[in-house]
């Protein structure tokens, strides 16, 4: 832990000891199709590496993050992209597009999701008057994107991204075996692995009718 504090600039250590601090909650999702960076601010900001973090919209909610070993799953509520909700799309068509994206698991499954806090200088501003970040983002958790689900109702549409810890998943090995139980945990109702003899390592005994 001491490395964490010693490796940061003095301004960051001061911010941690200060009565007030300017911060942003940052979520980075490393999709295969490109990295998405979003924050809880309502205007964009640049980090020390020049990356732009998009405001609002993207990140809608975060499930409670607990430090215990038994709690290894975090659910992020994400804004549904306007591309899927635009005026010119019929609701059914929008759902189809969204589900198609969710079905493309290689875009997100097993890829990294990082939730961090970025501290900013209280006084320093850049040429445009934007707050200047101090130190590196302070990681709250680094997770693997596992599954996405979308739900639609009359009054709302939700997109929930479930992420799991790289170190210990909820009752499962790090990279899960191809067992029926793991498959059910990830995609409830998917019976594809239930009767695969090689996977379940069981001998099928057929009746002889005698």
């Amino acid at each position: 832990m001491s490395l964490l504090f010693n490796g940061q600039p003095a301004a960051f250590r001061e911010a941690l000891q200060s009565d007030v601090a300017k911060t942003a909650l940052c979520l980075e999702l490393d999709f295969r199709s490109g990295v998405e960076r979003m924050s809880d601010w309502n205007v964009p900001f640049l980090d020390a590496n020049g990356n732009e973090w998009k405001p609002y919209r993207g990140l809608v909610s975060i499930s409670p993050i607990e430090g215990s070993r038994s709690s290894t799953v975090v659910e992020f509520g994400l804004g549904i992209p306007w591309d899927f909700l635009g005026d010119d799309l019929q609701p059914l068509e929008a759902r189809g597009l969204l589900l198609e994206k969710i079905g493309d698991m290689s875009d997100y499954a097993e890829r990294v999701a990082k939730l961090s806090i970025q501290y900013f200088s209280r006084d320093a501003k850049d040429a445009f008057g934007r707050p200047v970040p101090v130190g590196s983002p302070f990681a709250l958790c680094v997770l693997a994107m596992a599954s996405v689900r979308a739900s639609f109702s009359e009054t709302r549409a939700e997109l929930i991204l479930t992420c799991e810890s790289f170190l210990a998943r909820a009752g499962a090995p790090v990279h899960s075996y191809l067992t029926d139980r793991d498959q059910q945990r990830r995609s409830l109702g998917d019976n594809g692995l239930r009767y695969v003899a090689e996977v379940t390592s069981t001998s099928q005994i057929w009746t002889t009718w005698d």
Binding site: R13, L16, Q17, S18, D19, V20, A21, K22, T23, A24, L25, S39, D40, W41, N42, V43, P44, F45, P55, K125, A127, F128, G129, R130, P131
Partner: protein
Amino acid sequence: MVIDLSEFADRRIHENFRLSTPTRSPGRALNGREQILAGENAVWIARWNLTRIKGAARLRLLAMADDMRGRFGSIRLSVCNRGTLTASDGVAALWASLNISQAEISDGFTRYSDDTTFTDGTGFALPQGGEPKVSATTPAGATRLTLTGAIGLQLSVGSFFSHDDFLYRVAENDNGQIRFNPPLRQAISAGAEVQVSNPTFRGRLTDDDGFALFEEYYRRLQPVELVLVEDWTR
């Protein structure tokens, strides 16, 4: 749908715009005391009080309320920019504020401070009114920009300007280099005008019945107050 209430602007008796900034506390900081965290999340909350509206204007207002559909509709207000020179004051007021003499006005140009002119007998062109323009492209999130134009150079601290119905209040003005709040909602390109004479704001009601007062208003003469929260939809 955007409901434009600017036409009722002359009936307002009070308007109050404040920036609401949510903060949170994660607990104690390393110094052992509670730490307050804040980001850039400020939004405008507007309270708008109107005086009595009669006859046709009232009927028009009721028709607008029908169109509004509670919090779904967006309301555009024009904001009174007190205490600063605006283009709508006219060039005469602008010249008076810059201490340009009648003689210079009749000449059509101004002189050096020692009252001399160029060698051809002319001087500097009289400053023109008109809304200030942004001198360089400024990204979203910025809190500083540079305005050109005589009005922009003189914009008072505490006065408003708007761009695309997003409202900003001036915090500092150093000869056109202004600092303002809240941070720019969207980028402004170089040469774009900002509205100083008639800044506009777009907001939503804080509850669905926020407009219901207007129905009772004419009859009971009760004061009418609209409470709006900043609308980001464009």
